[in-house]
Amino acid sequence: MPRRPGRRVAARTRGGPAVARLLILPAALWYGVFLLAPLAILVIVSVGERAANGGYTPAVTLEQYQNLATRLTPFLNTIVLAFWGTIGCLLVAYPLAYSLATRGGSLKTALMALIVIPLWTSFLIRTYAWMFILGSNGLPSVLRSLGFGDVQLLNTPFAVVLGIVYNYLPLMALPIYVSLERLDRSLLEASRDLGAGTFATFRQITLPLSAPGVISGCLLVFIPVMGEYLIPVLLGGGKTYFLGNALADLFLQSRNWPFGSALATAFIVVMVVVVAVYTWLTRRITAAGRQAALL
């Protein structure tokens, strides 16, 4: 009976399914025309051939997919740097979330809101700010005056990873914070009463129980980072070539639509695989965590 109150609310205020269909029509139409149709066209173009002047000639060939191997570098770059960026986010965010959840006191909601505020500001501007800081007149000139010699920071893979950590930190911190904040305090007391030290308690109780937060944080960061375009362009200086940059070049510069579409389709497939693996991992680890908590 108490499944979803919302269902009852609407069921009683609205008429029957006929009204419902009418109400959902605009959104359904939009999904059809601007989500399904474009994705379908993407797949159709990916099995086509390139026209002489760019664009697309209808065909059914897997040639574009066979050529994907030539773009292995952006694929690898993306996966490797997205991986390090996610690890970086995790390393920075975990202690932060732990500190806020356990020691934030009455201020913790406000402190957490402060972490999230940068998410509300323009992504472009946040990335640009680092371009400004890492540029030759920024941090490197400070380092030079301190006697560190010439340090190149901007346009390096380091800058890209830094940009990822900076921009995506809130997305990692939030789910971890939520899982730590909800952690049952009595488990920690029990652990202490049974003679476990601070570290043992952390390793055996806190860490496993916050694993779901860590897993969903990693997913929240990894997926959008794979589609990143601005960070590699602005902080990587075009040297660190991501999938997003390869796609933009194929569509806007060389106008090789079929190949670009094949690359985009492959990208979606990789993403779906990653999400599937993560979901599977989440289930397993959550189950393991629950078991650990019960034992």
């Binding site: 979803r4 109150p5 919302g6 009852r8 609310v9 609407a10 009683r12 205020t13 419902a20 269909r21 109400l23 959104a27 359904a28 939009w30 999904y31 601007f34 989500l35 399904l36 474009p38 066209i41 993407l42 173009v45 697309y56 202690p95 932060l96 500190s99 020691r103 934030g104 909601t109 972490i115 999230v116 505020i117 940068p118 998410l119 509300w120 500001t121 323009s122 992504f123 501007i125 640009y128 700010a129 400004f132 800081i133 540029g135 809130p170 997305l171 939520v178 049952d184 929240l220 960061v221 959008p224 375009y229 601005l230 997003g244 796609l247 933009a248 569509f251 806007l252 579409s261 985009a264």
Partner: protein, 325 residues
């Protein structure tokens, strides 16, 4: 026995933490805040730079704001951004809210399909949506334009990429976000009021206007403000679907690539001010307009995001609830 719900396990347990470790943790937290806010503060400070170059600071002056304000390209881009964001917000709010209201009355199958599509619209990265929409629209226009010309005897304006295509693409994911926000709110809404209203012989329409709508209003308004902000801030989708029309982020991007000037900092600061103001207003509305009936529920509501929303900006869709509670 302390209650499980007391939520403050900072007390005795952390007291057992090594004092030095606690201090280190505090210091670390402060450093992360510095890391998060320094870049933004630097952009704001340098926007007031009196000097000609972005690299050295020569005292405060509003000259770059004046420069930006008298730059016709900036004004055109700002105008485009504002009209795109406002139209997107209107479309997304209406279609998203209506679809959320309709979903419960839909068949199980239709509901599941629509729900999945909503998540897909939110999850697919902006770059993929941008590219797919670009190919789709160019193909569709190539096919439609000869017909239009034929039907109107060649007098019709050819369809092309521009402001309207940005609006179409932006409306897709903002609509999905409004749908999720309103649906989340519906699930925590007090259903007894609706039943009472029915028992008191109110017509379904009256019940909707006097009970359901006020309950959902905070989520609807927050959805509108979020849609506006996402559209106003978006670069990547607009980058592919804009054609010749520049929005402010696209203008900023191209001037950044040409070289950093204090003018860019000034525009960036204005953008920051606009988005932060919108978000604070959204947060306050969610806090203030909740109504008596829903406040109790909101305190109990989980702070966990309602859905996994990977795309950066979109992820904040689920945030206002956190800050309002």
């Amino acid at each position: 026995m302390t209650g499980r719900r007391s939520g403050r396990w900072s007390g005795r347990w952390s007291g057992r933490l090594d004092r030095a470790a606690g201090l280190a943790l505090n210091l670390y937290t402060v450093l992360v805040y510095v890391f998060l806010f320094t870049p933004i503060v630097i952009v704001v400070i340098f926007s007031f730079n009196a000097g000609r170059h972005a690299s050295e600071f020569l005292g405060f002056s509003p000259r770059w704001y004046q420069a930006a304000w008298t730059n016709p390209f900036v004004l055109k881009a700002l105008g485009n951004s504002l009209s795109v964001a406002a139209t997107t917000a209107a479309l997304a709010t209406v279609a998203g809210t209506l679809s959320a209201l309709a979903m419960p009355a839909l068949g199980r199958r239709g509901r599941t399909v629509f729900e999945q599509l909503t998540y897909i619209a939110i999850i697919v990265p902006g770059i993929v949506i941008g590219i797919a929409t670009l190919i789709f629209l160019v193909t569709a226009f190539n096919w439609l334009n000869p017909w239009l010309a034929y039907l109107t005897g060649g007098s019709a304006v050819a369809l092309g990429l521009g402001k309207y295509t940005i609006i179409a693409a932006h409306s897709l994911f903002t609509m999905a976000i409004v749908n999720v926000l309103v649906r989340t709110r519906m699930q925590s809404a007090d259903r007894t009021l609706v039943e009472a209203s029915g028992d008191l012989y109110a017509t379904p329409f009256r019940t909707f206007v006097e009970i359901t709508l006020p309950q959902l209003l905070p989520a609807i308004i927050a959805g509108a403000l979020l849609s506006f902000t996402f559209s106003f801030d978006d670069f990547i989708v607009a980058f592919f679907t804009s054609g010749q029309d520049q929005t402010l982020p696209i203008y900023l991007f191209s001037s950044i690539r040409r070289g950093v000037t204090p003018e860019v900092n000034a525009i960036a600061t204005v953008l920051l001010a606009v988005t932060i103001t919108m978000m604070v207003v959204a947060g306050l509305l969610l806090r203030g307009r909740g109504g008596r009936g829903s406040r109790r529920r909101r305190r109990e509501a989980p702070i966990e995001p309602a859905l996994p929303v990977p795309a950066v900006d979109r992820a904040s869709a689920v945030r206002p609830e956190v800050n309002a509670s």
